[in-house]
């Protein structure tokens, strides 16, 4: 039997307000801290939190995401970030140089269908703003994209990038992982990389996954 980490369900009492504070994925009621999700409980720095095992991507400031340009507006682009929240990349946040709108068709910078690696700069209500003005941001050319459950991204990356780097090395690919669950892969053994990513998605909660991945990649 494979060992798994502890799992809690919505409504499950995790602890007492007298001893801990309510962190992400929890709420407090009658002095108790209770889980909101089906997920993995964490206790750190005095906070009890729960990492959900599934769920849509909720954008947060400074998240690095991979998005698809879905429309070109007058002063920017609408971007699909695999979330019920659509996001917007304004002209000023997407382009460094000065742009004369009267003479320039901004499609030369980003057009419908382009894939970008960007950062969430602002979230207000259901308004999400992206920016390309950060060193990691770039247009991703070629390659393919795969979707995984956003909450499984940390597992895909691994401790200090150990998991993702192993996959990149063994399959000779470049991989960019968005916190929104979109993974971009380009290079040699793309199919093998996809298989590894999907295996992590399926078995992220199982201890011993690392061995399975190593085996898959060496075949």
């Amino acid at each position: 039997m494979t060992e798994t980490r502890d799992i809690v369900i919505p409504g499950e009492v995790l602890g007492d307000m007298k001893e801990r504070k309510s962190g992400y994925g929890t709420f407090s009621e009658d002095g108790k801290i209770i889980s909101k999700f089906l997920g993995i409980p964490k206790d750190s720095s005095g906070y009890l939190s729960v990492v959900p095992l599934s769920g849509v991507y909720v954008p947060r400031r400074q998240d690095k995401v991979i998005g698809f340009i879905t429309s070109v507006e007058k002063v920017g682009w609408v971007v699909d970030i695999n979330s019920p929240w659509t996001s917007f990349l304004s002209l000023s946040e997407g382009v460094d140089e000065f742009v004369d709108l009267k003479r320039t068709d901004i499609r030369r910078f980003y057009d419908v269908g382009d894939v970008i690696y960007a950062q969430v700069s602002e979230v207000r209500g259901s308004d999400v703003q992206l920016t390309m003005k950060t060193p990691i941001a770039r247009k991703l050319r070629g390659g393919i994209t795969v979707k995984i459950t956003p909450s499984k991204v940390p597992r895909l990356i691994g401790k200090e990038g150990s998991m993702i780097n192993t996959i990149k090395e063994k399959t000779k690919t470049i991989i960019r992982v968005g916190q929104n669950g979109i993974v971009w892969i380009s290079g040699e053994k793309i199919n093998k990389a996809i298989k590894a990513v999907k295996l992590i998605e399926e078995k992220s909660h199982i201890i011993g996954l690392t061995e399975e991945i190593t085996k898959l990649l060496s075949d």
């Binding site: 494979t2 369900i9 409504g11 009621e29 999700f37 997920g39 599934s54 849509v56 259901s126 909660h205």
Partner: protein, 238 residues
């Protein structure tokens, strides 16, 4: 309720299917049965089989239906044409429309809808086989599907029916008991604080009988809650 029969529904303390008055039928639960859905579950109570699929939170159209401060939940209860004795014509009946509404009201209090302004959570319930207590079976499936989808919840949602058959108070009515019994009370509640979110009744009962049935169902519901908890945790421990 309301159909007449000469047959006795309880003989020597045993119901038509051999159960004791406070016994729930055989329960089977599975989650993650619909790959496309964000969350899903299949629940069986005896011969009643329900499937639930949850999509969301996701964008809501048309825009004028969006609520600025929270997500809305939409429910659709539907019976497959082959789920009942006489083939049912596809399309929503008035009964299905009413059940869709009380289902929504039963699930809403359990969800943190304020976390997803302007969005919608769609809950679809399909009854594949009907043998009494279909609305509560559907709601049990919906509760699992919502947790499976990662929709934040205050608690799971537990649903169970109680009633009176001949002169005995019973739990979990099957089809014949529903049709020929004296009363049918479906109840839905949040187990941690026993908050009742759905309460309906058909038939005739004394006040004391009603109160007893509610008490009995809340107690028997613990079994259903335990099974829900088990199946959710089991999904991730293969």
């Amino acid at each position: 309720m309301g159909m007449k029969t000469k047959e006795k529904l309880i003989v020597k303390g045993k119901r038509l299917d051999g159960r004791k008055p406070d016994e729930i039928r055989e329960i089977e639960m599975k989650v993650g049965v619909i790959p496309n859905a964000d969350g899903s579950a299949q629940v069986r109570f005896g011969n009643t089989i329900a499937m639930a699929g949850v999509y969301g939170p996701r964008e809501l159209f048309p825009k004028h239906r969006q609520e600025a401060d929270k997500a809305i939940i939409q429910c659709r209860y539907n019976m497959a044409p082959f789920s009942v004795d006489e083939r049912k014509r596809p399309g929503p009946s008035r009964r299905a429309i009413e059940i869709s509404k009380v289902t929504r009201l039963a699930l809403e209090p359990a969800l943190f809808l304020k976390d997803y302004p302007e969005m919608v959570v769609d809950v679809y319930i399909e009854i594949l086989q009907a043998d009494g207590s279909t609305r509560v079976t559907g709601i049990n499936a919906a509760s699992l599907a919502l947790a499976d989808a990662g929709v934040p919840m205050k608690d799971l949602v537990v649903a169970l029916s109680g009633g009176k058959v001949d002169d005995t108070l019973v739990i979990d009515l099957c089809g014949k008991e529903d049709n020929y019994g004296k009363a049918d009370i479906p109840i839905v509640f949040l187990p941690r604080k026993k908050e009742i979110t759905l309460l309906q009744m058909d038939g005739q009962l004394t006040v004391q009988e009603v109160k007893n049935i509610i008490k009995n169902v809340l107690k028997a519901g613990e079994t259903v809650y335990k099974k829900q908890k088990e199946v959710l945790k089991k999904k991730y421990s293969k």
